[in-house]
Symmetry: C2
Subunit: 237 residues, 2 copies
């Protein structure tokens, strides 16, 4: 089974959460837009193809299925790639955690685009400074404190054993390290388990190979995690 | 099986998407905080109970399971309440659509709280005006146009037959009618199928009974959908 992943070229973005799962499992997949260009996504986005119409990338094509929304894609791939424990309770818990990661990812995106996702950052910079301050001071400690407890109780894993959720937590930490280095430095003492998890995932052979490959794009200021020094800082208050 | 739903008292909020599914199916459930107060949620939110720790309400308790995140709860309830077609493809499509509804709900929330969810509306009113203008002009037409096509292709249903997604689309339309009456009026010609769906759901006997009951709280300016006339208007541009 070859999976076709569709996502914007040029950024890691939300597609990276799916990519990490496919890479970790050595799945057979094609990153279609990187081969054929972003236009290859349009027939799906326009609703001109059979299968569920995606609202936005990323989406995954597997045979007749078109699966969109990161958490939904990982819910679909989890059992197939052996990246989620067996049983309904574990699968629901994985989906719940992935959705909570997705909520934080949206908040991180909105910290540089609080007014309009299609408008320039420069035209919403003042609002971004205020929202980023709230993210650093209130939201990041709350979300990361939650994930820290989850991983602490799972003996270093979100679900007690390796899963796609761990891979997504790795990506979340790496992205935040890039975008908010000062805030993350201030949070170091509070999230030791997440740090350990990040190091453990980076050392997995397939992930290490992937991170060193050309397939892993560098973080940049076109993606979700953006390094704008004026938005970074300590944990205020 | 009695389900225990936990959600903030005093508002419809995100809990309402779950409530509508339980009501439509005549499920046996207790709306716990409305009986015992909001404090009843704290042991779960603090991680003092067994089962998956929720990050935030709503969450549903069913036997040993604690299930959080609206889309995850509905994914769990769907087959049990006969509110999703059988088969993996349909369940994935339902989850995908529900997640897209969730994305729009977050954008609607952020239209009155673009800077900080814990801060007063009055302290972010100027940013809210800009974000609400973008919501009305760009985001609502895009999202509702997408759902309109989905429902048109499903012969009046998101999934070709009645499902929890239709119930959530009903709630979305009702909430937008309350919060953004002018914008929704401007969109009338573009979403005839969503209007028909809304009327059909309102006429379902269990839903009609529920909407007329004291269990259905009125929309108010504490919830996700808020009627702030200064944020409403036509479709600009």
């Amino acid at each position: 089974m070859t999976y076709q992943l569709y996502y914007w070229t040029g950024i890691q973005g939300r597609g990276e959460f799916v990519r990490l799962a496919l890479e970790d499992a050595s799945a057979d997949y094609v990153d279609v837009a990187r081969v054929d260009g972003d236009d290859a996504m349009q027939p799906f986005l326009n609703g001109d193809r059979t299968g569920a119409r995606p609202f936005a990338p990323p989406f995954l094509v597997s045979g007749d299925l078109v699966v969109a929304q990161v958490a939904n894609i990982l819910h679909f791939l989890g059992p197939r790639l052996d990246l989620v424990p067996e049983g309904e309770a574990a699968r629901l818990q994985a989906l719940q955690l992935q959705l909570t990661i997705a909520d934080l990812v949206t908040e991180i995106h909105d910290s540089h685009h609080p007014i309009a996702s299609a408008a320039y950052y420069e035209d919403q910079k003042d609002a971004a400074k205020r929202r980023a301050s709230d993210l650093r001071t209130n939201r990041l400690p709350k979300f990361l404190g939650y994930f820290e407890q989850v991983v602490d109780r799972g003996n270093g894993h979100a679900l007690g054993t390796h899963s796609y959720v761990d891979l997504s937590l790795f990506q979340l930490i790496r992205g935040l390290d890039y975008a908010y280095p000062k805030a993350m430095q201030a949070l170091v003492p509070k999230v030791p388990q997440l740090r350990k998890l990040e190091a453990r995932i980076a050392a997995r052979p397939n992930i290490a190979t992937y991170l060193a490959s050309e397939r892993r794009l560098a973080f940049n200021t076109q993606g979700i995690f953006r390094q704008y020094p004026e938005l970074d800082g300590g944990i205020d208050g």
